[in-house]
C-alpha cells in the first residue's frame, strides 16, 4: 500500500499542478483507507489451522492453537464487517501461530521417537552386556 501511496505527485508540470495534486491527494487518502478483501490470506490461514490440528497441535501447543483459532475467527468476523486490514493482519498472525503449533507438534513427536529409540538402544546394549558377562 505504501507504493501506491508514494507515486506521482512531484514531477507534475506547473500548469496542471493544482488539479493534479488535488486528485493525487484524494487518490492517496482513499488508497490508504480501502484495502481489497484478503480472501486468499484467510483461506491460507484456515488451511494452516486445519493442518496444525490434524498434526496434533492442540495437545502439544494448546496456547498457540487457541490463539490461531481465535485470531482466525476474529479475522472472519472482520471480513464480514469489511474491515479488511484487520482481517488481513489477524489472519496472517493466525497463520504463523498455527504453523508454530504444527512445528512444535512435529518436533515433539520427533523428540519422543528419538528418546524411545535411544531408550531401546540402551536396553539392547544392557542386554548385550549381560550376555557378554
Amino acid at each position: 500500500m505504501k507504493t501506491q501511496c508514494s507515486t506521482k505527485p512531484l514531477h507534475t508540470a506547473q500548469r496542471i499542478a493544482l488539479p493534479a495534486l488535488l486528485t493525487a491527494m484524494l487518490l492517496l487518502i482513499s488508497a490508504c483507507a480501502s484495502t481489497p478483501p484478503p480472501t486468499e490470506q484467510v483461506a491460507v490461514s484456515t488451511s494452516a489451522v486445519a493442518s496444525a490440528t490434524s498434526a496434533g497441535g492442540s495437545d502439544v501447543a494448546p496456547v498457540e492453537m487457541q490463539m490461531a483459532r481465535q485470531k482466525l475467527d476474529r479475522a472472519k468476523v472482520a471480513m464480514t464487517a469489511k474491515d479488511y486490514p484487520l482481517a488481513r493482519s489477524l489472519s496472517e498472525e493466525a497463520q504463523v501461530d498455527a504453523q508454530l503449533a504444527e512445528a512444535k507438534a512435529h518436533s515433539t513427536q520427533a523428540s519422543k521417537a528419538a528418546y524411545e529409540l535411544r531408550e531401546s538402544v540402551r536396553v539392547l546394549r544392557e542386554e548385550l552386556d549381560r550376555q557378554t558377562k
Binding site: 506547473q14 504463523v96 548385550l128
Partner: protein, 317 residues
Amino acid sequence: MNTYRIFALTLIAAATLAGCSSLPASNPSLEQARSDYRAAQDNAQTRNLAGGELKLAGDALTKADKAWSDGDKTAEVDHLAYLAKQRVAIAQETAKQKAAELAVGNADIARDKIRLAARTNEADAAKQSAEMAQRQAEESQRQAEAAKQQADASQRQTAAAQQQAEATRQLASDAQARNIALEAQLKDLNATKTDRGMVVTIGDVLFDTNKAELKSGGMRSVEKLSAFLKQYPQRKALIEGFTDSVGSEGSNQGLSSRRADSVRTAIVDMGVGADRLATHGYGEAYPVAGNENAAGRQLNRRVEIILSDDNGIVAPR
C-alpha cells in the same frame, strides 16, 4: 507565485504523509523479534537444520524493520514484528525436529549394530557351549577310562594281595612244617631246651674211659647231629667238654678239651663246615650232679653240644 504555491502544496502533502506515521524511539515488539532472531542465528543447529525457515524469519524481520523506519503505525510494526517473532520460533522448532530425526537415524544405526553384535554373541555362545559340551564329553570319557584303569589296578592289587596271602599262608604252613620236623628231629637227638638254646648231651658211656674217642653209640648221636646241622645250615654249634672231679685239674681240663674236639672232628668228618663249630673244655667245672657217688660223677662226665638259633648265635656261659 506559482513556485511558492507548489512549495506550499508539497508541504501539505508531506504533512499528510507524516500524519499517517509517528516515529517512536524504539518498538519493544520489534526489539524482541530482533533479539530472538539473533539468538536463532547464533545457534548452529538452527542455522544448519532450518535454514529455509530462518530465511523466512529474516525476511519478516526486514519487513518489520522497514515498516518501523518508514514510520508506519505502531500497530502495523507490532503486527509485523509478531510475524517475525513467530517465524523465528517456527525455525527453532523445525531445527529441533530435524535434530531429533537425525538422532533417530543415528539410533537406528546404533540399534542395528547392537543387534548384529548380539547375534554374533549368540553364535559365539552357541559355539562355546558346543565346545564345552564336547570337552565335557571328552572329560567324561577320560574319567571313565581312568575309572576303568583304577578298577583294573585294584583288581590286580586284589589278585596280588590274594597271591601274597596265599604265599604267606604257604610260608606259614612251610614254617609250621619245618618247625614240626625240627621238633621231631630235636626229640630224636634227645635235645633239652635250656636258656642258652637246645642242648644235646653226649654222656660218658659213649666215650671209652679216659679216652677221647667216641664209641659207636656216640657216633650215632654225632650222625644225627651232623644231619641236623646239614639240614639247617644257618645254625652253628658250640661243643663243650666236662669231667668229674676225679684226677688232676690239668688232666681233666685236657680230657674235656680233647673230647669236645673229638666230637667236633667227627661232625666235620660227616661234612659239616668246621667254621660252624666251636669247642671249649671246662674240666670239672659246671657239674650237673654231685661228685660224691659214681652215678653223679658219671653224669658230670659229658660233652654238651649247644645248638645256636637261626642267626648262628650261641649265648655265652
